[in-house]
Amino acid sequence: MRHIIAVLLENEAGALSRVAGLFSARGYNIESLTVAPTEDPTLSRMTLVTTGSDEIVEQIKKQLNKLIDVVKLFDLTEGVHIEREMMMIKVKARGDDREELKRLVDIFRAKIIDVTETSYVVELTGSSSKLDAFVEAVPEGRIIEVVRSGPTGISRGEKGLTIS
């Protein structure tokens, strides 16, 4: 099963490599990993997406908790949560394609953030599957470049993943 795990870790050099190293050393799957500082500059928040049986995911969480730099973690998939991923996609936009791509952007509630005579850069935020759907919908041969952030997530409701 797919799990999305949010991790608060010390914002220190090497913390990220400890997490990445753990996954490769123990042979765990890692689909994506994003990390950035939080409102507290001493803390980073990481979101990682992994797949595995319940036993393996349980081990992943225990092993992550064992890392000295990991302050706290939460498996977002255990409760109701919101998941978002951001994508920028550069497409060839010439002639009739320009109109069709514009329509597609409207349907997906995306934004065109760069325009040239021959191309668009489209920005789209949503669940990973929505991003997949957009990529699918772009007519064949038009994609120049795709860049995705990997999913991030947050739980619904008042409670949050904080250290206090």
């Binding site: 010390e10 190293g21 908790n65 730099d69």
Partner: protein, 572 residues
């Protein structure tokens, strides 16, 4: 008080109560060595290779329960130490390794003797630090000791660039008494509800077995374990790492379990209905094929490390906490229950166990004209009367020692269990002998293992360490040869140790006493003479039967009940 970084390192070690530092100087640590020169509180032991430093610090830690300390230079100094760090990591031994690093401004420029020490050691430490600012030095060293010795212990590396120890830069020094880390707080007490469930399961058990691991030794819980075994009347078996936590000469001890464990221990594991695992980690050398592991048992698992629980084997009643604290709670609840497990049921279980024991699975040919390695270990026990710190290398001799030398106290059996590091024995014995100068310390080894750290014979001479090296010389990498005999139809591919040195002359050239023993009748006398030389290292080159195998044996991938006994036993 204003100190330079180099002085801070030394002063912090003093404030930490460090008695011994095992090290080897080099460019990046010269400032620290200079600070060591002008003080007397810390004794520095100059090893002959950085691997020796880590194993010696490790042996010291295993024997004393204190944190071992090493100091090595950057680059090759650090990489040479890696084997020892990984050895300590797999056996959860608390050591702090201070490594020199090139100056901060040149880090990343492929400077002379530069390696990414933090990167290289990351997967084989409990934690590591790179100190880039002298102001962080004292606190980082305090944290390193705290992390190494608390919770599930382990090695911690502190990488210190040379400019951080610059004698020209002095800053105020204060050693923090306590460290608080929001990201690290090991569990002490076990969950009382879970402990109650465990006690209920123990009281209802019909065929219980206690399976203790190295965690009982590391967690100083021998007394509690012994009380539990005695009050419950349960049989107890131990992993390689836990030997001595419960007196091995006692009747309730079934011998070691696992790949080369006793028949009775493995059969009891296989047939038990309640397994009480204490400070053990269900290693593959213990479980054999997981599908066949303790098929009838409800499993209770006590461990300080949550990630040990249900890692390899699903556990029914997990208890996370310090082993000693949890056992104390269990003992209290057992007392409060006012009753023990059913006497008659337990007696029946013991009758079954005694029947297994009757197979006498460790029997070997005592009439042989050659020295059997088992006989050598039995003679060692007889001569030392059980009062010995025994460091071991890795291989057949290690297994024979585990099977035939019954330790009645913890911290007496010093061996590399998890990583299986050949070359561990001699430097580890140095650490033990330096910790206990008056104690009898021996290193049991093979002619292959000993050569991996033979250079430490010079260290033994420099510090007059009267270690007794018991070399079981069979001319082969015995365990490799055994596997090739069993599983590769006797194709002994590169396991014959050709061109061996003359060990007697080798020992003498290092300034020690060397003695070769070839006949069983000469062995006891030679060992008695060796141990009588209280102030000399004696190297006993004992020529043993090269064809002897370690039995019983559970082949990799087999279940606990599928043991091979020795050929004589299988026919019987």
């Amino acid at each position: 008080m204003e100190l330079s970084g180099g002085e801070i390192v030394v002063r912090a070690l003093q404030d930490e109560g460090v008695e011994l530092v095992f090290g080897y100087p080099g460019g990046a640590v010269l400032h620290i060595y200079d600070a060591l020169f002008n003080q007397e509180k810390i004794r520095h032991i100059l090893v002959r290779h950085e691997q020796g430093a880590t194993h010696a610090a490790d042996g010291y830690a295993r024997a004393t329960g204190k944190c071992g300390v090493c100091l090595v230079t950057s680059g090759p100094g650090a990489t040479n130490a890696v084997t020892g760090i990984a050895t300590a990591h797999l056996d959860s031994i608390p050591i702090v390794i201070l490594t020199g690093q090139v100056p901060v401004p040149v880090i990343g420029s492929d400077a002379f003797q530069e390696v990414d020490t933090v990167g290289i050691t990351r997967p084989c430490v409990k934690h590591n630090f790179l100190v880039k600012d002298v102001h962080d030095l004292a606190e980082t060293i305090r944290k390193a000791f705290f992390i190494a010795t608390s919770g599930r212990p382990g090695p911690v590396v502190v990488d210190i660039p040379k400019d951080v120890t610059d004698p020209g830069i002095k800053i105020p020094y204060e050693y923090p008494r306590e460290v608080k880390m929001r990201s690290y707080s090991p569990m002490a007490k076990g969950h009382l509800g879970q402990i109650r469930r465990a006690v209920d399961a123990m009281l209802a058990a019909k065929r219980p077995v206690i399976y203790n691991g190295g965690g009982v030794v590391l967690g100083e819980a021998s007394a509690e374990l012994t009380e539990l075994v005695c009050t419950s009347g349960f049989p107890v078996t131990s992993t390689l790492m836990g030997l001595g936590a419960y007196p091995m000469t006692d009747r309730q001890f079934l011998g070691m379990l696992g790949m080369h464990g006793t028949y009775e221990a493995n059969m009891a594991m296989h047939e038990c209905d309640t397994l009480i695992a204490i400070g053990a980690r269900f290693d593959d050398r213990v479980t054999g094929k997981i599908e066949h592991f303790c098929p009838h048992a409800k499993i209770i698992h006590i461990d300080v490390d949550p990630s040990s629980i249900s890692k390899n084997v699903r556990v029914d009643i997990p208890i996370v906490g310090q082993v000693a604290t949890v056992l104390t709670d269990i003992l209290r609840l057992l007392k409060e229950a006012g009753r023990g497990p059913d006497h008659e049921t337990l007696a029946e279980w013991w009758r079954q166990i005694d029947a297994w024991r009757g197979r006498d699975c460790l029997r070997y040919d005592r009439g042989s004209e050659r020295i059997k390695p088992q006989y050598a270990v039995e003679t060692l026990y007889k001569v030392t009367e059980g009062d010995l710190y025994l460091a071991s290398d890795v291989g057949q001799h290690q297994m024979f020692a585990a099977q035939f030398y019954p330790f009645d106290k913890p911290r007496r059996w010093i061996n590399s269990g998890g990583l299986g590091t050949m070359g561990f024995g001699l430097p580890a014995a140095m650490g033990v002998q330096l910790a206990f100068p008056e104690a009898q310390v021996a290193c049991i080894s093979g002619e292959a293992s000993i050569l991996m750290c033979i250079q430490e014979m010079a260290t033994c001479k420099q510090y007059d360490l009267p270690i007794k090296v018991i070399l079981l010389n069979n001319g082969y990498m015995g365990m490799v040869r055994q596997w090739q005999e069993f599983f590769y139809e006797g194709r002994y591919s590169h396991s014959y140790v050709d061109a061996l040195p003359d060990f007697v002359k080798l020992a003498e050239s290092f300034g020690h006493v060397g003695v070769r023993v070839e006949r069983p009748g000469d062995l006891e006398g030679a060992m008695r003479e060796a141990f009588a030389m209280r102030d000399r290292l004696v190297f006993l080159d004992v020529v043993v039967d090269p064809t002897e195998n370690v039995y019983p044996m559970i082949a990799a991938g087999k279940g606990q009940h599928e043991m091979h006994l020795s050929p004589e036993r299988e026919l019987a």
